[in-house]
């Protein structure tokens, strides 16, 4: 059986008709008891399991997923990775993730197709340019890469962008982060799953957590569609479904669930080799390796668990894209979809122990948690293994809402949603 992925093993398997590949992960039946349980087989849950096994040497772990791996937001996102945030706490977090992404493919022997093609966040007025300069300064002081681009630089990296002074949102320049880019979403989920499985983690799909086992005021495990599973510590990593499970554990969260949509065009030859975001139109786009334009925009403004997306936002996204790139007018859209994202009041995630002792949270990533998967996994693993915060996760504890110490990235970095 071939386990290791390399050009040589691909060649050897080619000679044998590709019949000798080992399954990427097992599909074991759940055991009655684990040291640590993780609810949710998205990127953050799988990464948590991997780092628990790898860094903390805890191997008696299970990941429980109600559907299939990556079938939540991880497999539905537009794959942008970046760390262009405003506050030092955020840069610590998102740049940790980006640095881990830079070496992840080699570490887990899985090609996550990280492509650091840069992201251009446009500025549409003189005032926007001043804010862009402020963002660039903040990012540089916080220790990550950022450049202030003028109109000539924008023209150079985005030759098809409508930069006419007559445009609805004229372009003055913007913030460039060269280390940002895209990565393959499924590969991140599958790569972590395969690496965790190899270290002994049980990955259990089509198993839904229905209730918590609460004894003596502590979380002692969960009741699932496949029966009870006990554990000393449980991590809840279910994105848009966090409030639903929190209610079963007896507390509420500062989260509202919304549908976030994206769409792709038919595949075309290479026309766009960076990621571009226009705060004016609220639209961002990149081109996939298959040639499809991957396009996203704002949230649907209706709280929702319906994984579909509504028409008004899709119309806004498409008209915004055509405003930015008139030459895309003749393209056909191939697919549209939505994921249910977990939005917090300050657009920052929640990491830490929940009000129910023994149950730990990794949620609230909202519209932007794909980029954070390696860090979210590292930090929740630290919490689950030690019971204590890592320095990087401390500011993101749920207690920031009662302490009034919000990390307001919606205002700080002007993120689109």
């Amino acid at each position: 059986m071939t386990r290791h992925y390399s050009a040589l093993s691909l060649f050897k398997e080619g000679l044998r008709g590709q019949k000798g590949w080992q399954k990427a992960w097992r599909s074991p039946a759940p055991k009655p008891r684990y040291d640590i349980l993780i609810i949710g087989g998205g990127g953050h849950g799988l990464a948590t399991a991997y780092y628990l096994a790898k860094v903390h040497n805890i191997r008696n772990i299970a990941v429980i997923e109600k559907g299939w791996l990556g079938g939540g937001n991880t497999g539905r996102n537009t794959t942008v990775v970046r760390s262009n945030y405003f506050f030092p706490e955020s840069t610590e977090l998102y740049d940790l993730a980006l640095r881990l992404y830079e070496t992840l493919g080699r570490e887990i022997n899985y090609n996550i197709m990280l492509s650091q093609r840069g992201i251009m966040t446009l500025a549409h007025s003189e005032a926007d340019m001043e804010m862009a300069a402020r963002t660039v300064n903040a990012m540089q002081i916080n220790g990550t890469d950022a450049e202030l681009f003028g109109i000539e630089d924008v023209r150079r990296v985005l030759p098809l962008l409508n930069v006419s002074p007559q445009a609805r949102y004229p372009v003055f320049g913007g913030v460039w982060q060269g280390r940002a880019g895209t990565a393959r979403h499924d590969a991140v989920a599958w790569g972590y799953a395969r690496a965790a499985d190899r270290l002994g983690v049980d990955i259990i799909q089509t198993c839904e957590v229905e209730e918590f086992l609460i004894e003596g005021g502590r979380c002692r495990g969960v009741k699932t569609s496949l029966g009870e599973i006990r554990a000393e510590r449980t991590g809840m990593v279910v994105a848009g479904h966090s409030s639903h499970l929190a209610a079963k554990a007896g507390f509420r969260l500062p989260i509202t669930s919304y549908a976030l949509q994206a769409c792709v065009s038919e595949p075309i030859k290479p026309v766009l080799d960076t990621v571009v975001l226009s705060p004016g139109t609220g639209v961002y786009a990149s081109q996939s390796d298959k040639g499809e334009l991957v396009v996203g925009g704002a949230l649907d403004r209706v709280p929702s668990y319906g994984q579909r997306g509504n028409l008004p936002v899709l119309e806004d996204v498409v008209t915004g894209l055509l405003e930015m790139f008139p030459s895309f007018r003749q393209l056909r859209l191939m697919r549209q979809w939505a994921g249910i994202v977990d939005v917090t009041p300050d657009s920052s995630p929640i990491l830490g122990e929940s009000p129910l002792p023994g149950l730990f949270l990794n949620c609230g990533w909202g519209t932007g948690g794909f980029k954070a998967i390696p860090a979210g996994g590292t930090l929740l693993a630290h919490l689950l293994a030690t019971g204590k915060h890592h320095d990087v996760s401390r500011p993101f504890d749920l207690d920031r809402f009662s302490r009034g110490r919000l990390i307001d990235e919606a205002a700080g970095s002007g993120i689109a949603h």
């Binding site: 409030s243 639903h244 509420r252 969260l253 989260i255 669930s257 209706v302 668990y305 028409l311």
Partner: protein, 93 residues
């Protein structure tokens, strides 16, 4: 495009409406006596139910605020109410 029923204007496009939070989220009375956790619950914690929801909405065309019962999974609207009618004052003291 979904139509939401404004109790004053009738069915109108969803894009004319603004979500206003959970019905029944009353502002704590008592100023200094209100604890941090009470303020946190009022300001930040949300019901965010999967399924039947009871919410405050504003119809931005007429500017009126009202209560709406709907389902967050299939988006079916059960009914909308003028505040103070329908057995709940919708959080407006």
């Amino acid at each position: 495009m979904q139509l939401f029923p404004c109790p004053f204007c009738g069915p109108r496009s969803e894009s004319e409406f603004h979500f206003g939070g959970d019905a029944g989220n009353h502002r704590p009375e008592g100023f200094r006596d209100v604890t941090d956790s009470e303020w946190t619950a009022y300001l930040y914690e949300r019901n965010n139910p999967r399924g039947a929801a009871n919410e405050i909405w504003m119809h931005m065309a007429c500017g009126e605020v009202f209560r709406m019962e709907r389902d967050t999974v299939d988006h079916r609207v059960a009914q909308s109410f003028v505040l103070g009618e329908g057995g709940d004052n919708g959080g407006m003291a």
